[in-house]
Symmetry: D2
């Protein structure tokens, strides 16, 4: 699939780039980008072939995400949420399902969601809450059983694509047993209200608004069919929660270098030694981050959740975030004041690039975990904060 999807991503990126300034200015959702993604079949990227998708590996996903981000990082970030949902659903093998006690009808429900994605539906993630961030252990959104299903009530924040997605992966806590956290796929519609709070420094086009839930869903929308699987899945697939952002920020860094080179060549400034030194070091750092993301992804495909895989995931998150921010800051300095005008790609990329280190797990947290591991410790046990 790589070839097909990767080519599609490369074909779409310039179209995204052409629209990026407008969406950044207005904070508007890149509706046309998503129409393009649907048309190119990329909503089915992570859907198994048997269900009509492209059956991409995680490594293939990261390559696609980087290319999309070279067009518009915000579009790639939202797409990442959809890829996370479909990728995590698709990664539940029969063995795993059996081990977790997932009933057959839940697998059938899962397949229906994935088939719908392959046919053009897309999902976002409603996980974070004000005050608790992305920590599953501190959620306040509650659910309880109803006749024939579930009722969810609570508020989410940083929900990328809010108001545009067809459905949302929602993490909630059982009203009956506070220790039980489950995940639901909630369709857009009545009971799901968007409060337009997103107005950010960077990645402005993600529409990562607040989402208020007071909604009933059918029984089969409990993912996995049994309660309490949310944390287990997080432990098994930290790459989706931590590192899939990384691929996006590599694309942002590369876009910044390309935009700077174009800007500097247009002004005949390519001969300045200081300019060359900045672009040269930016190029090397970005190339390195890209390889680390690819290596992390390769290992995720081979041994998801393994100790060594997780270290690569943290390295990817750390290096992609810090590299994007440093690269964008440096090449903007090389390009000069004329590139700080709103509407100039570098002006936007400088802001977008700063956001990578801030997504959970932040760069500082990744550095802490990696340090613990380098010292022979266990981040789960020795970390200064709970990982989830």
């Amino acid at each position: 699939m790589t070839v097909h999807a990767l080519e599609a991503a490369r074909r779409l990126a310039p179209r995204f780039a052409a629209r990026a300034a407008e969406h950044d200015r207005d904070g508007s959702f890149p509706v046309d980008d998503f129409a393009d993604l649907r048309e190119a079949g990329l909503f089915g990227l992570m859907v198994p072939r048997a269900l009509g998708g492209l059956g991409a590996t995680f490594a293939e996903y990261t390559a696609v995400a980087t290319e999309l981000a070279r067009g518009n990082g915000a579009t790639a970030l939202v797409f990442n949420m959809h890829a996370s949902v479909t990728g995590a659903l698709g990664a539940v093998t029969e063995e795993l399902a059996e081990a977790l006690g997932v009933p057959d009808e839940a697998l059938a429900a899962r397949d229906r969601l994935l088939s719908a994605a392959a046919q053009g539906s897309w999902y976002s993630v409603a996980m974070s809450e004000r005050g608790s961030g992305a920590r599953l252990s501190q959620l306040t959104t509650a659910y309880e059983a109803t006749d024939g299903g579930w009722h969810l009530k609570g508020s989410k924040t940083f929900c990328s694509g809010a108001g545009h997605a067809d459905g949302y992966l929602v993490a909630a806590r059982s009203a009956v047993d506070q220790s039980v956290v489950s995940q639901f796929l909630v369709a857009a519609g009545d009971g799901v209200t968007v409060e337009p709070t997103w107005d950010s420094l960077g990645m402005r086009a993600t529409s990562s608004h607040d989402l208020h839930l007071d909604v009933s869903v059918p029984a089969d929308r409990l993912l996995g069919g049994v309660e309490g699987l949310a944390l287990v899945v997080a432990q098994l697939m930290p790459h989706w929660l931590v590192a899939s952002y990384a691929a996006v920020y590599v694309g942002v860094a590369r876009a910044a270098i390309d935009a700077a080179a174009e800007h500097l060549n247009a002004r005949n400034l390519a001969g300045l030694p200081a300019v060359r030194a900045r672009l040269g070091r930016a190029d090397a750092a970005t190339a390195a981050a890209q390889l680390v993301v690819a290596e992390a992804a390769r290992r995720v495909d081979e041994a998801p959740g393994d100790e060594e895989t997780n270290r690569w995931v943290w390295r990817a998150k750390l290096l992609a975030g810090t590299t994007a921010a440093e690269v964008a800051a440096s090449v903007l300095e090389a390009a000069g004041t004329s590139a700080t005008r709103r509407g100039h790609p570098l002006e936007r990329l400088y802001r977008d690039a700063r956001c990578g280190s801030l997504h959970p797990a932040t760069s500082d947290v990744c550095a802490d975990w990696l340090g613990i591991a380098a010292l022979g410790g266990d981040p789960d046990r020795d970390g200064s904060a709970p990982r989830w």
Copy 2:
């Protein structure tokens, strides 16, 4: 004077800060900030006492500028332009005037401009042009003698406070002799048209728009009364062209630390070691940059234009610019995603702070000049580009 002016600046800063978000959002000029500055008598800061001003030294100016910038860096940057004009005019001693051949009537005209400033007029600078930047040697705006005065024609860019100042210091080239560059003080009004082009990453409230000139001015608006003094003045007072920005960016860096501390304390995050390390290193770097600016300013007052003074001026410009950008980026990372929301001070300060290294002389140029000097060379002779 310091005490009075510095206290006034400290008193005004919180008022500027309270208005900063709105002006940043809209790119509107901080009209109320300037009314406050007028009312506090700060338009006369650099005007000699004999002419009704406060007679501040350059060192006193930098202290005031830093305090103003803790409120709003954009306001301080525009004020810097006014201080540059009045400071440079006020610094022309009788000895210097005699050496340059400045006639008495020109000194009288100069005094009228300074008195007007002390009474509430303020001036901006219209120097840069598209394509040539701030290099005097490459200007295209032309002037010629008319009956009873001069006529100027051309276009300027990056003119801070355009449309709000009472007058503009305009550098122009003689239509008769291309090698002659002179400076005029052009009153706002007919023949001076603002084209609202300023829409920038940071320092958005400076209204640094384009200015189109097709205007006649009285004879006495030729500064110095003899043609061709522009370059001489630039050589004598490089601090006003290069380093007075520096004080502003120290204020921006300090404002970022303060905003981060407030944000982190409000969220009970002050105990995180990574947060403390970021704020501690930011504090040390900012304190150092502030001392370097103060030392440069002290030497400017003692020996303006001297070789060693100039090295301190470049050090001040280099360190203020790089420190502000690095400090703002680091403490924003410490503060986290919630501080990236538009309207949050750190969101604005992160963008404002990036601009310091880009003002001429850029950080890379300052580093080059300092390197030449450290190697025993002469930046004027050995630099890779003409200094003016």
Copy 3:
């Protein structure tokens, strides 16, 4: 005094520099440097004029230390120990003495020690111990009262100038009451044995060997004349324990820039842009660190031990240490492989410069304390480790 002592330091520095390579190679003590210091009267630098000394302020001391370090950082580090002892003794005013309950005979004994210094004796510090570092609260060296004096027994490490000093300031714990830590001035001689353990990456000429004590001293060698003052003095004069190193490392950084400039000019490499950028940024950083040290010192003279003074002391320690290491690493890279040959000043300075951040309080600890203070906390209360 400054002029005299500073001129002496400048005069001696080239002589120290000429001997530095040999002492670095052999790890031998710079005996001739210390003869020069004695002859120049610099052992009395911190001794009050009334006792025959030069009565230097802390600020004057730091200026002298930086100049000495431009010659040989190791010599300056050892001299720093002597200056600490004499400076701290000299700083005990009559008011302070009264407040601490220091009897008159102790002041007389103190005066005898200072007079001896003015006449050519010099003292080192034997504070640190293996395992507990420089923390007073964790010492194991013990003392007890004897007929007519005290007996001390224990082992010290990192005792600069061991085997060459005329006396040692020794911190020890009362055998009777573990909570009481006192300081003694122990003369070199029987019962004081040097174990030559010092063989270090950098600052090799300091002879910072281990010192084994099993020695009786007269009653008047208990500093202050009453037991238990060690911690009080540390609290009052943290600059001597934390920041007097800083001045030395500014000198090391400046020496590295000078050596690199000489090396590059000799090879006609001063025109390379990358070389110039490295030297320019190194120059600015070093100039900044020097100002911070001077400002810290000025405040130490004005308000020793004050909260704001201490912040400047930590800034000085942090910036001098990190700047020296980064500057030396960068200019050595500019100078190239030919400067890595043993005996080349840059080869030594690169190793010497790395040591500054490691002296207590380390750069990481200073950053933590500064961060706590920037966040409105109190490093004594909120720090992750006891300060003494």
Copy 4:
């Protein structure tokens, strides 16, 4: 082969590490390490299987070099020279030989040299000269034809393993035609004299002494059998001249992290947040550099000398050199003063690690070339200095 050779390297590394301190202290050649390498058959690593060697690819070589460097970087650097000679000789395919006009007897001679290597001979490189560095275009060592062979006369510097190798690859200029530079394989023995000049900051055990040549060699020791091939080979195989060092410095960086972790755990300091942050960031940076070296090597095997391959080679050289220096400096700071004692692995690694950026092409030169390429230029044409 990888498995066998890589296992051998891993097996030998601890033995090298155990001997490293002594050779570093004395600047003595690691004779026993080389006996181990011979015994393990690693002198034949780059020799084609048909000639009795292991037939390793460049990628396999870099993996082996990194492992050897985890034991002793100096040993790995000398081994790198042998690998360069045998690797470059082995890489001359029949097609290339034909294109270059290499006669059959020269290929036979080449095969004899490679067979000898597989049987335990090892070769070093005598390329650099004082004043001209490693630039082929500026050599002064001259050769001329004699009856039955060639006579070479001149002096080389930085010849790793001088006095220990069985033969030296010598670049020399034709006495008849200055534009012709050729390479010879000169056997150790009469006419080849070692002047022990190597006494360096780091990589002290390489014995990179000066080599004086006044020696006659048989006709078949002209590599390639025709004169003037030196520059062609350099153009074709820049990886051997520029990037094979990179793998060594990745090993040095990893060794520093491992040594720091061991040191910190032994002192119960693994829980300090600043320590963890340093080790975590060091780990990520080193992992990234290792991937970049591996990617460069993979491309060298696929498309040696291609434009894109060369960019990866420069990235590898740049990142390995800067990463090793920064990692060693940071983890030494984490480990503290007790790790600066001579004989401690970190003390040596800190010095060894600084050397990577200084080997040609230096980090600054690589950054310049990468910048030119990122800007769409051609380093060969636009670089500030000739590449060879």
